[in-house]
Symmetry: C2
Subunit: 236 residues, 2 copies
C-alpha cells in the first residue's frame, strides 16, 4: 500500500495533468541511466535531451512534483528517481498476471523492463492445456481455469492481455470479476470495462505508422515538390 501520502506538499493537490503522468516514465528511464553511471546531478537541459522532451516542459512537469532543482547545480539524480518512482507508485510491489503465452506473452514474461520497475510477474496463464507446466522466463505456464484463484491468492490488480483478439474480452471480464482493476491490452481489439477499471492499449504498429508518415514526408522532400505545398510537421 502507498504510505505517507498526507505528508506530501499541499501544492500537489492541484492535480497532475495526464500528459505529465505520461512523461514521468520517460524521465525515470533517463534518470535511471544516469544513476547507473553514478552521475550525481543533471541540468534540466541535459535531462530533457536524454528524455526527448522540451526543457521548459520538463521544468513545468517537475514543478507538479514539488521539485525545482538548484540553480547552477541542477537536479539531484537519486532524489529525483525516488520522487518520480514514488509518484508513479513504483516503490511498491505490483504483482501482474500475463494471459496468453504465445510469442508475445513469452516476450513480455522475459522483458527485463517490468521487474526493474516494481512489476512482478505473479503468473503466466494460457488456455492451451498443452502449454500448462512449461517453463517460460522461469515460471510455469498455468491453465486459464486457475485465473480466479491466482488473482485472489496474489492480490493481483494489474492484468496483461496478450491473447488473440477473439479471446481478449472474455479474459478481461474474468480478470475484472476476479478483482483486477487495471488492464494492459496488447490484443488488437477494443475492450469494454466497467467504471473504475483502467485499460491502456498497446498497438505495436502505431509507432511504425508515425514513422511511415515521416518517411513519406522525407520522400516528398527529396522530390523537391515545385508547388511547395507539402505539409510541414510542426512540433507538438
Amino acid at each position: 500500500m502507498a504510505t505517507g501520502r498526507s505528508h506530501r506538499p499541499a501544492t500537489r493537490s492541484r492535480g497532475i495533468p495526464e500528459a505529465t503522468v505520461a512523461r514521468l516514465p520517460l524521465y525515470l528511464r533517463a534518470l535511471t541511466a544516469l544513476s547507473e553511471r553514478s552521475v550525481p546531478t543533471v541540468s534540466s537541459e541535459e535531462l530533457a535531451a536524454a528524455a526527448g522532451v522540451n526543457s521548459a516542459k520538463l521544468r513545468k512537469d517537475f514543478s507538479y512534483l514539488g521539485s525545482y532543482g538548484t540553480r547552477g547545480v541542477g537536479y539531484d539524480v537519486e532524489y529525483l528517481v525516488y520522487q518520480i518512482s514514488r509518484e508513479l507508485g513504483l516503490t511498491q510491489d505490483w504483482p501482474v498476471v500475463i494471459v496468453g503465452i504465445g510469442n508475445l506473452g513469452a516476450a513480455l514474461a522475459n522483458y527485463g523492463g517490468f521487474a526493474s520497475r516494481g512489476f512482478r510477474v505473479a503468473a503466466l496463464l494460457d488456455a492451451d492445456p498443452a502449454l500448462a507446466g512449461r517453463l517460460v522466463a522461469g515460471l510455469p505456464v498455468r491453465h486459464i481455469d486457475e485465473l480466479e484463484s491466482i488473482v485472489a491468492d496474489n492480490q493481483v490488480s494489474i492484468g496483461v492481455i496478450a491473447t488473440p483478439a477473439g479471446a481478449a474480452q472474455e479474459v478481461t471480464d474474468r480478470l475484472v470479476a476476479a478483482g483486477v482493476t487495471s488492464i494492459l491490452n496488447f490484443a488488437p481489439t477494443v475492450l469494454t470495462v466497467p467504471d473504475g477499471v483502467d485499460v491502456r492499449k498497446v498497438d505495436l504498429s502505431i509507432e511504425l505508422q508515425i514513422l511511415a508518415f515521416h518517411e513519406q514526408r522525407k520522400a516528398g522532400e527529396d522530390r523537391q515538390d515545385p508547388d511547395g505545398d507539402v505539409p510541414a510537421v510542426m512540433p507538438a
Copy 2:
C-alpha cells in the same frame, strides 16, 4: 513512392501538428473496425468514443485532412480510411527489417498488425549463427552479416530493433550507413542517430507505469484520505 501530392488541398500546407499525426493511427484502427462491420458512416462522437479521443479534438484533427463530414450524416467510413491511410503513407508498401530474433523479435515477426498496415517484413536478422535459416513467421532468419545487402536489395527504409540493449547502437549505425532512415527501437537504450533519421522508441513498461500511477490513486481513494490532499488527475 507517394504520388498526387500536388493535388492535395492547399490548406494543408499550414502543417499537421505532431500530436495529430500521433492520433491518426488511433482513428484508423477504429475506422477499420467499422469498415469490417460494413458500417457506412459514423458520427464524430461515435468515432471519438471508439478511438478514445475527445470529439472536438477529432473534428479539429480531421480539419487538417480537409475532411469535415456531413451534418446529420457524419463521416464516410471508407473514404476516411483512405484519407488517413494516404496521409500516413500506408497506401504504399514499406519493407522493414527486424533485427534481433529472440522472443520479442519473433513476436513482432508474427504480429498481424504490421502487414495489415502496409508494412512488409522483408527480412529477419540475428547475430546468432545457430538461428540462421530457422523459419519464423514463414521467413528464414538471416545472419546479421547480410544486413547491408538486404537493405540495399529490398530498398528498406525502416528498421526495427529488437536486440539486447548492448547491441542496439551498433546495429543502428549499420542500418543507417546502409540507407535506413527510420528506426523503431524496442531495445531498452537511447540511440544516437544523425540528422534526417527518425527514431521512435517503444518501452513496453511505460504503459504499465501509467497504470500503476492510477492504481496507487485508486488505493488512496479507498483509504479515504481525511486531509483530501490526494492529487487528482486532470484530463490531458
